[in-house]
């Protein structure tokens, strides 16, 4: 018996079988997507917040499916995974028809012609509708062209424990500037030896949040992060704002602690305001609403947008929906976006997620009427300053954020940190 042919005869089929398995698995699984007929509309929502998922999958989407007699495939993608997943889906040609993303991503998506210009669709809306949406639509524009329809509006304001301010004899209505708030924070800070046991004031200092807090401060000082596509954060206003920011956390007169801790995204019960670890904190509308819902007995007040030179707060269009430029279901995609931004649905969505509704008319809704916290945020919408909508913003933000961290930690002076960030950002814009 000759051996080699035996092996040849057997080894080859074994290899073939394995290759075939691969191919079969590949074929059979992708074949499912290729069936013609009425393909479901695929939609990706950013973020995996539980109440949002419940609301969207159990209530909103079934309603849309019934109204339009279609099937909608909704996927919720964790924010951290959104960019890799979306970009590889674009590279593969498997990107969804409609997808949600932050306004920060808009400029890059537009530059690469990945998203549809929505101007024509927006113009099909009634004038009344457009006026109602006007304030929030701006956040979804790149160079004046509409690409994104926001799902909600979000903002950050300073919230306080009314009881703590009262104990310290501080009248919240006297706090209108950042300097007022800083002085109050000095009063409210409690220490045991050198450790702060109760922070007077906390701003977001975790990754990315640093740049958001800084945006609020520099805007209040009369400066801005970017002037068009030019770096503007290394201005004297920027340095002053960052000096104020770092002094909150530095040295013997510090009023803040736990630098870098992501309190903003903590569960309501873990919020420093709730645990009593802080008297005042910068809060998102979402976190403020969560606290109000979870701790109804706690008296939480919200200060208006604070100023150095002019009142300003970080805020604007939150994540919104884009239409994939390659979708074959453009009409249905727009129908879905229109549905999500309709008065009733958009308010329900804002309520479900604890955000500010995108429509001005929602101020009359029971959701807003019943919440003092939300009204406070809504009232400040004119003072909201969003992130710049420029290409490579995420990259610029990250270098700024890293340098802000250096300054906050006392490793670099505010001036040097902003200069370094400006240099790096110029490199990103230039190359």
């Amino acid at each position: 018996m000759d051996v080699v042919p035996v092996i040849r005869r057997t080894a080859a089929p074994v290899a073939l079988v394995a290759a075939a398995t691969l191919v079969l698995v590949g074929c059979s699984s992708s074949a499912g997507g290729d069936d013609g007929g009425s393909e479901p509309l695929t939609v990706w929502f950013p973020g995996t917040s539980e109440p949002e998922i419940d609301l969207v999958t159990n209530t909103l989407v079934p309603q849309f499916e019934e109204e339009h007699d279609v099937e909608v495939d909704v996927t919720f993608v964790d924010w951290a995974d959104l960019a890799p997943k979306l970009n590889s889906a674009f590279a593969a040609g498997t990107a969804p028809d409609v997808f949600g993303h932050g306004p920060a991503a808009a400029a890059d998506l537009v530059a690469n012609e990945r998203v549809l210009d929505l101007t024509d669709y927006v113009s099909t809306l009634s004038e009344e509708d457009r006026d109602d949406l006007a304030a929030s639509l701006i956040g979804g524009q790149v160079d004046g062209t509409q690409y994104l329809i926001p799902l909600s509006v979000s903002g950050q304001l300073v919230a306080y424990r009314a009881d703590m301010l009262e104990d310290a004899g501080i009248d919240p209505s006297s706090l209108r500037t950042w300097d007022d708030v800083r002085a109050a924070a000095d009063e409210l800070t409690e220490k045991e030896g050198d450790t702060i046991t109760r922070a007077g004031l906390l701003l977001g200092t975790a990754a990315i949040q640093r740049s958001i807090s800084f945006n609020a401060l520099i805007s209040a000082a009369g400066g801005q992060l970017m002037d068009g596509t030019e770096v503007a954060f290394d201005s004297p206003e920027g340095v002053a704002a960052l000096e104020f920011f770092t002094e909150l956390y530095a040295g013997d007169s510090a009023v803040g602690n736990n630098l870098g801790n992501d309190y903003l995204n903590s569960a309501a019960a873990q919020q420093p305001l709730v645990t009593g670890d802080a008297a005042m904190t910068l809060l998102t509308s979402q976190a403020a609403m969560q606290i109000a819902a979870a701790e109804p007995d706690l008296e939480i007040g919200v200060l208006p947008a604070l100023s150095f030179m002019q009142p300003a707060a970080f805020g604007g269009a939150g994540a919104g929906l884009f239409i994939n430029a390659d979708t074959e279901a453009t009409e249905l995609s727009w129908d879905f976006i229109e549905f999500m931004s309709s008065p009733e649905i958009s308010t329900a969505y804002a309520e479900g997620t604890g955000n500010i509704p995108i429509r001005a008319s929602a101020a009359e809704s029971e959701y807003v009427q019943s919440s003092r916290v939300l009204q406070a945020f809504l009232a400040e919408m004119p003072n909201f300053v969003p992130n710049p909508n420029v290409p490579s913003w995420t990259q610029i933000r990250d270098v700024l954020d890293a340098q802000l961290e250096q300054a906050l930690a006392g490793v670099a002076t505010p001036d040097a940190a902003l200069k370094a960030a400006a240099d790096q950002a110029a490199g990103i814009i230039g190359g």
Partner: protein
């Protein structure tokens, strides 16, 4: 015959017991050797084809990409830019810093990992009731995904997590483990030691079991104490497997990503920004596949150099 015996000689050098474990008599039938060699070639062929196709070809492809500008978001394909990516990457202080952090991380994990794993391996090298339990228990962290264990540790390290709870319980103050630039990297490293302890232990155990008991007996008769037996019998016997363990540990540790991504995202003050975190951001957040590939190749060279030096050092010691 010459052919097969060299191969057998090669095998013998990798034997931990030293002393030509494989006698050259293995192949007696001269006439069959060519037939056997052909059969051997066919046995390894499918694996070779696969690894060339899906490990080496991608490396070459990646090298090509590192000389291009390519974004998955762009509709156009990769565009040739020459050595620009390498120039940019090697002149980027953040990337060089990340290589430094990668090195620190390897050095923080490796020594305690090896020492603890060796101690435990020596303890479970003796058959006693329940030894199976200990071997398995210590191995369990290895089979749970890094993402899942990182999440457990995220909670353990958190403000109100178990570690601070225990510290407060015994009267010590709590510590912001992952927020302090001094403690963040060691905290991540501690998790990694815990995770890799079992697999290292099992490999070293395997090494220990190949050391002939006679050698210990002979050493004992010569009056060697426990330390001397460890120094002159155990360590030399373990050398091959130790080299293997050190090399693979360095390779895997220098590629760490998941635990840093879940626990610290590279912060605070970039104290935990290992190279792969930066590469990930470059590739997937900023869509610069070309410069990400260039970074990956520099990391590759770094890993290769690091593990070569380590293995050389190890090999030189008596």
């Amino acid at each position: 015959m010459t052919l097969t015996s060299t191969a057998a000689g090669e095998l013998a050098t990798s034997s931990p017991a030293g002393a030509g474990a494989r006698p050259a008599k293995a192949r007696t039938r001269r006439s069959g050797s060519r037939r056997l060699a052909r059969a051997g070639f066919l046995f390894v062929l499918p694996a070779v084809i696969y690894i060339v196709g899906f490990q080496l070809v991608p490396v070459v492809y990646g090298l090509v990409l590192s000389f291009t500008d390519y974004s998955p978001l762009a509709r156009s394909g990769p565009e040739f830019v020459g050595g620009a990516n390498f120039a940019k990457v090697l002149g980027d202080p953040r990337f060089l810093h990340s290589l430094l952090v990668t090195g620190q991380y390897v050095l923080l994990v490796l020594p305690p990992l090896l020492i603890l794993a060796l101690l435990l391996a020596m303890m479970v090298n003796k058959p006693f009731r329940g030894v199976g339990f200990f071997r398995s228990a210590l191995y369990v962290p290895h089979i749970v995904s890094l993402t899942a264990v990182s999440m457990i540790w995220l909670w353990l390290y958190s403000d109100n997590g178990a570690i601070n709870g225990l510290l407060e319980g015994v009267g010590l103050g709590s510590q912001a483990w992952l927020l302090d630039p001094d403690s963040a990297l060691p905290a991540v490293a501690a998790m990694r030691v815990w995770k890799a302890l079992g697999s290292n232990m099992v490999l070293l155990l395997a090494g220990l079991q190949t050391i002939p008991a006679e050698l210990y007996e002979a050493a004992r008769m010569d009056g060697a104490g426990a330390w001397a037996r460890f120094r002159y019998v155990t360590l030399p016997g373990l050398k091959p497997i130790l080299m293997y363990v050190v090399a693979t540990d360095i390779i895997f540790l220098a590629q760490s990503f998941a635990e840093v991504f879940v626990l610290t995202k590279g912060g605070p003050l970039e104290s935990t920004t290992v190279a792969n975190v930066l590469i990930y951001n470059e590739a997937f957040q900023y869509n610069s596949m070309g410069s990400a590939s260039a970074m990956a190749f520099v990391l590759f060279a770094f890993i290769a150099a690091f593990s070569l030096v380590a293995v050389r050092n190890f090999a030189r010691r008596p």
